[in-house]
């Protein structure tokens, strides 16, 4: 299936009726660069609105898995190119990227195998987002800045992946795909934790509350481009299952928000991924 067709189908017409505050959801991530044009895909509810449970999204399990596959294509290619770029320092950074790359490539193969003919093809990616970034140091931005961008993009991709899988889980209930999707979801969270901690180490921010392995409120963390804020919006939630956990436990909103990762709708995940996907008009 063609990726653009899929992305269009993923956000079926029924979703357009739920669009309320597209601009709010879009945030700054979506407003940057020409890639925003592709995100003329209708948007769903804001993550963390309390109605973000995917039960309401009306998509099929195959749609959910193809969204997952699309995100895995993006991650797999990103890590392969990062490792080929020569930007990553040897030692822990290269080792961490190698390990994550191995998993993301395995996830692609696993999902493709299970989806069979229903699997979408890989889109073409543009990790510069139309020239805004230069994570592979292809345009001469320099190793240091390219490395910082490699870390920032990896964090954004991993934190997005965790939220996106979580958002699709209810859509997979009653199918044989739920458990494997959960088994990938937790691996993405391990990646996110380590990338976040590696970034913190590189930045000298290991004691910063906003640069831990877990997400504090909706803080994207030190050094993260404002463009990535859409990845974190909604993570500040402190109420679970109708229980205000700050009131119930006496712990701070900081600690409570860290204790629960929030789901992201397929629409938001699609919009974020779309920023890195080439369209026909780019060619």
């Amino acid at each position: 299936m063609n990726i653009i067709k899929f992305l269009d189908e993923f956000t079926s017409e029924s979703l357009t009726q739920k669009v309320s505050s597209r601009r709010d959801v879009f945030g700054t991530f979506g407003s940057l660069g020409k890639k925003a044009a592709l995100a003329a895909i209708p948007f769903g509810m804001a993550a963390g609105s309390g109605k973000a449970f995917a039960q309401t999204n009306g998509n099929t399990p195959i749609d959910s898995l193809n969204l997952a596959l699309t995100l895995e294509y993006l991650e797999a290619e990103f890590y392969i190119r990062a490792l080929d770029s020569g930007v990553l320092p040897a030692g822990r950074p290269e080792d961490v990227y190698n390990q994550i790359s191995k998993h993301e490539t395995a996830h692609v193969e696993f999902l493709k195998t299970n989806l069979g003919d229903a699997a979408v093809e890989s889109p073409e990616f543009d990790f510069t987002v139309g020239g805004m970034f230069d994570p592979f140091n292809e345009n001469g931005i320099g190793q240091e800045t390219a490395y910082a961008q490699l870390l920032a993009l990896a964090q954004a991709f991993e934190d997005t992946g965790v939220r996106a899988y979580k958002g699709q889980a209810p859509n997979l209930m009653g199918t044989a795909f739920l458990t494997p999707a959960l088994q990938i979801h937790s691996v993405e969270a391990k990646h996110a934790s380590e990338i976040r901690r590696l970034r913190a180490f590189v930045l000298g921010e290991t004691l910063n509350d906003n640069a831990l392995g877990w997400i504090t409120l909706n803080n994207r963390g030190p050094g993260m481009p404002e463009a990535t804020q859409a990845v974190y919006d909604g993570e500040e939630n402190i109420s679970q299952g109708g229980v205000d956990l700050v009131a119930a436990t006496g712990f701070s909103a900081t600690s409570v928000s860290q204790s629960f990762d929030e789901p992201m709708t397929g629409e938001t995940a699609t919009a974020i991924a779309s920023l890195f996907i080439k369209t026909d008009s780019d060619n």
Binding site: I100, F110, G174, Q183, S186, K190, T206, V243, T249, D261
Partner: protein, 249 residues
């Protein structure tokens, strides 16, 4: 079929704790499991016997799964409560201290969440809410970095595999989503503990846990509970005779 897991059949060596995730072959037959804890010093107190009458049963359906998760969160919360009261924590380097303090906060919050959520789910009928469990961590040297971080690693790894193995047994999408919100935080914990404790740069998501498809384990409740019993940490007996099977359509 009822399987009793008692102290005599399980070594509580450090080695067995580290490996207790891998006890896939442990004989837990059928869906009936009597959790039968013991104290650390059998010679003095002997195995703890079930309280008169029936031990608490986790229950069926979503309440059963919530009680199951509540038991695991109680275990983690109590462990970290002792960690932050211990001498290793007091002298830990600032980064490790921050991580352990956060893990304590998170696990206590998880525990309190389940207590509130289950109480709500059963309409306030406290006879259906898992009581406060008692634990015995006297076998853990809370002055030792190895003991603290090694045990933390096992508990976090176990938590991830337990939630992954429970997801398909949940009926209500709301609870599945909440379980998802928690398991990814447990996975973040597991990666952080592994990263600071284990020597290799790839241990945060190590090949000892993640398979060739890039999947974390998903362990059924019976196996998780048997492994928990094998640690000897749990001293309050309860049963898990009615937990739901996975729902695969």
């Amino acid at each position: 079929m009822k399987v009793e897991v008692s102290s005599e059949t399980h070594s509580k060596s450090n080695n067995s704790r580290r490996k207790f995730l891998k006890m896939g072959g442990l004989a837990v037959v059928g869906s009936s499991l009597l959790l039968y804890g013991c104290s650390d010093d059998d010679d003095i107190s002997g195995p703890v016997t079930p309280t008169p009458g029936e031990p608490f049963d986790l229950g069926s359906g979503d309440v059963g799964i919530l009680n199951y998760a509540y038991a695991l969160e109680q275990l983690e919360a109590e462990f970290y409560t002792q960690v932050i009261a211990g001498s290793y924590f007091a002298s830990a380097d600032p980064e490790e201290k921050l991580i352990l303090q956060d893990l304590y906060d998170h696990e206590v919050i998880h525990r309190e969440f389940f207590k509130a959520a289950i109480t709500g789910a059963v309409g306030g009928d406290m006879s259906k809410v898992l009581p406060e469990l008692e634990f015995d961590f006297s076998g853990v040297d809370f002055g030792s970095r190895d003991a603290v971080l090694g045990t933390a690693q096992v508990l976090e790894d176990t938590g991830v595999s337990a939630y992954n193995g429970a997801g398909a047994r949940i009926e209500l999408p709301l609870y599945l989503t909440i379980a998802g919100k928690i398991v990814s935080v447990e996975a973040r914990h597991a990666a952080a503990i592994r990263s600071i404790y284990l020597p290799g740069n790839t241990e945060f998501a190590g090949d000892d846990v993640i398979d060739a498809n890039g999947l974390d384990p998903a362990t059924p409740p019976a196996d998780v509970l048997a492994a928990v019993v094998a640690t000897g940490f749990l001293t309050t007996p309860f049963t898990a005779n009615n937990l739901p099977a996975p729902m695969v359509g």
